[in-house]
């Protein structure tokens, strides 16, 4: 233990004198702080936008009251009045934005058909999507391995190459102890940095202090251990520094870029997802076709779903709102299977990635972070379901006015349903991911130790 402490002390002394490594460490720290700033700023922007939506809704209500000063036909209100389904970011989303930048965090809804509104939400700058997120999760998952590689690629080889190994091993120091001390120093440094950034992010983002604090920190520790294990495994081959650096960068490239890209292609082929556009087009055809169909035929189909509004009176007028909303409803009903297929296919694709992420530790860890921050695909699908339910509740609110022909008064705005949704963290994905991560860590160290022993014996 005394020797171990001495080696640690001198590793620190060496680090203090190595400007290159210090610069790299500072750059990683700055990147981490920027990641925290980027993530929390993006979440703050989304929160501000969501807050503004409440005002927009209130303004819209005031406009409606002005446009329809007395009692109004609920059909007019349902047509002109809009509200919003909103997906509030979890307090952890600032640490891992996940899909919150590509998927809409609010949907403007009217009483019209739902499906065309669900996917009519292009509010993303595609150039920004191409560049991706620079949040803390990105820094930890993709940049920290590079820092670990830079710090550890030559832990053993540099001693051989600079010729210090014979003199060092002529002291009562064993080779495993020396490698262990060097790895431990670097591990302490990197873990210190990663945990510091995580804690700063948690404080900065004012996350809810629940079990996720432990889960996040455990993932950070295990992930750093994994990459140090990879560095140890390569060092155990006892090759030169150039070989080690190229091998480690190759492994990083494989795990962080190539395998995720191949996984994406494989999953897209194995689990195709029907386009939301096809669904929207079919739904539009049904809705537009509604104008040309006999009104009674439309209403008969509608009453089959809503028997409580059954009315055998023939509509003589050229246009009535209840008929209009009925064929909008039929538009949604015509694509129910397609909509369900679409959502299930997305979920199935996600499930497939969850099974295959054992092939890439960075993909697994990114998945854990997103699940913990409730910013993954299931969170978005949960929001879509919640928005769908909200639209149903709007229909249930307005249909009695429409089909019972009750006038809509200003007081009724106050009891109109409002929407709010915050996804829950997926602890199942988190714990399952941590289990896989633990196995990966164990695997690299066991293989590394076996290689180290085999090479030392020869």
């Amino acid at each position: 233990m005394r020797i171990f402490r001495i080696l640690l002390t001198y590793e620190w002394l060496n680090f203090r004198k190595d400007r290159g490594l210090q610069l790299l460490t500072v750059l990683t720290l700055v990147a981490g702080l920027y990641g925290i700033y980027y993530g929390t700023t993006e979440v703050e922007r989304q929160r501000n936008n969501i807050e503004a939506l409440d005002l927009l809704t209130e303004q819209n209500v005031e406009e409606m009251k002005e446009k329809f000063p007395g009692e109004a036909d609920a059909g007019d209100i349902g047509y002109y009045h809009s509200t919003f389904a909103v997906h509030h970011p979890d307090s952890w989303a600032g640490l891992s934005l996940g899909q919150r930048d590509v998927n809409p965090f609010y949907i403007k809804l009217r009483l019209l058909n739902l499906q065309s509104q669900l996917y009519d939400t292009e509010n993303v700058n595609p150039l920004k999507v191409l560049a991706g997120n620079f949040d803390l999760a990105f820094v930890l998952v993709y940049l920290f391995p590079l820092l670990i590689i830079a710090l550890s690629f030559n832990i053993l080889s540099v001693e051989k190459e600079q010729g210090t190994l014979p003199l060092l091993l002529s002291q009562p120091v064993s080779l495993p102890l020396m490698v262990g001390a060097k790895l431990s120093f670097r591990l302490l440094l990197v873990l210190g940095l990663a945990l510091l950034l995580s804690v700063v992010a948690m404080v900065w983002a004012r996350v809810s202090p629940d079990a996720r604090v432990t889960l996040w920190l455990a993932v950070v520790v295990l992930y750093c251990l994994f990459w140090f294990g990879v560095a140890f495994l390569v060092a155990a081959l006892q090759k030169n520094s150039a070989f080690n650096a190229i091998s480690l960068l190759g492994i990083w490239l494989l795990l962080a870029i190539v395998i995720p890209a191949l996984l994406n292609v494989y999953v897209s082929v194995k689990q195709p997802v029907p386009q939301a556009l096809a669904l929207t087009i079919k739904q539009r055809e049904v809705v537009h076709g509604g104008w040309d169909k006999p009104k009674q035929e439309t209403l008969q189909q509608f009453f089959a779903r809503y028997p409580q509004y059954t009315d055998t009176t023939e509509i003589k007028e050229r246009f009535v709102w209840r008929w209009y909303y009925a064929f909008h409803q039929l538009g949604d009903m015509a694509v129910e299977d397609l909509a369900s297929d679409y959502l299930h296919s997305l979920q199935a694709r996600y499930d497939m990635v969850q099974q295959l992420n054992v092939l890439s530790v960075p993909v697994n860890v990114q998945g854990i972070f997103n699940a913990v921050a409730a910013s993954d695909l299931p969170a978005h699908l949960g929001f879509l379901q919640s928005a769908t339910d909200y639209h149903t509740s709007l229909r249930e609110f307005y249909y009695p006015f429409l089909f019972n022909q009750v006038p809509f008064t200003h007081a009724d705005f106050a009891v109109e349903p409002r929407h709010s949704f915050t996804a829950s963290p997926d602890y199942g994905v988190g714990l399952n991911g941590i289990f896989k991560l633990g196995i990966s860590v164990l695997l690299v160290y066991v293989v590394g130790l076996l290689l180290f022993r085999a090479r030392s014996a020869t």
Binding site: L167, P172, S174
Partner: protein, 235 residues
């Protein structure tokens, strides 16, 4: 006298080459043994076996009565080593390098004591606080000598230790070896330098193709005779 270094039928086979053919040798405390031989004769292999850097194919090496192969780390407490080309941590100063190796050896010296070891080894005092990366080979060699001396080991293993030293420094090194020998350190030195071997050695061994072909007491012959004998074996 106490035997501090011993080889018993020590053999080392490298794939198709037998580098050391059953070496039998004993070194007593205070004795200086010089091993002469051409490049590839097996001198460095012998030293590496005593250091535990390589494992013997057969036989055993002992340091202070402990078998090296089974006590690789423990025997390092009793020996110090100066390689042909001392390489140190380039980012650290000479003083810091000496402090590191001394601490690893179990000696926590004060700065003044470390400085004294360095100056005694011939390193200018003003160089001690400079980064080793800027040192010449001779300066590094002197730090290596200071590291070995500061360890107060029972056995000193030297592999061409004066390589890179100027004649004055080489002479001072010889005097240092004699002082250590008087203090009871057993010294095992592999060298090409016949005259220095004759000057400081108690005994001289001549090694050829992994075999100790002759073993002489330096008191029995002069430098010219030793050179003649050595050259005869080499041809």
């Amino acid at each position: 006298m106490e035997i501090v270094l011993e080889a018993k039928q020590l053999k080392k086979q490298y794939q198709d080459k037998l580098a050391l053919k059953g070496l039998d040798l004993q070194l007593q405390a205070g004795e200086i043994f010089c091993l002469l031989g051409q490049n590839g004769a097996g001198k460095s292999t012998t030293i590496n076996l005593f250091l535990g850097f390589i494992k013997p194919t057969a036989g055993a090496a002992f340091i202070n009565g402990l078998e090296v192969a089974t006590n690789v780390t423990k025997v390092k407490e009793y020996l110090a080593y100066i390689p042909e080309n001392v390489m140190l941590y380039p980012n650290l100063t000479g003083l810091e390098n000496l402090a590191l190796f001394s601490r690893l050896a179990g000696f926590d010296y004060k700065k003044e004591e470390l400085m004294q070891y360095l100056v005694e080894a011939g390193l200018p005092a003003e160089a001690a606080a400079r980064r080793v990366g800027a040192y010449s080979k001779g300066m590094r060699q002197k730090v290596g000598i200071a590291i070995a001396v500061a360890k107060h080991a029972k056995v000193l293993l030297l592999d061409e230790p004066t390589s890179g030293l100027d004649p004055k420094a080489s002479n001072e090194f010889s005097e240092l070896l004699l002082r250590l020998s008087k203090a009871g350190t057993g010294i095992f030195m592999a060298t090409h330098d016949i005259f220095r071997a004759k000057e400081v050695g108690t005994r001289v061994g001549i090694m050829r193709e992994g075999e100790l072909v002759d073993l002489l007491a330096t008191s029995d012959l002069n430098a010219n005779e030793l050179e003649k004998l050595y050259l005869n074996y080499m041809h």
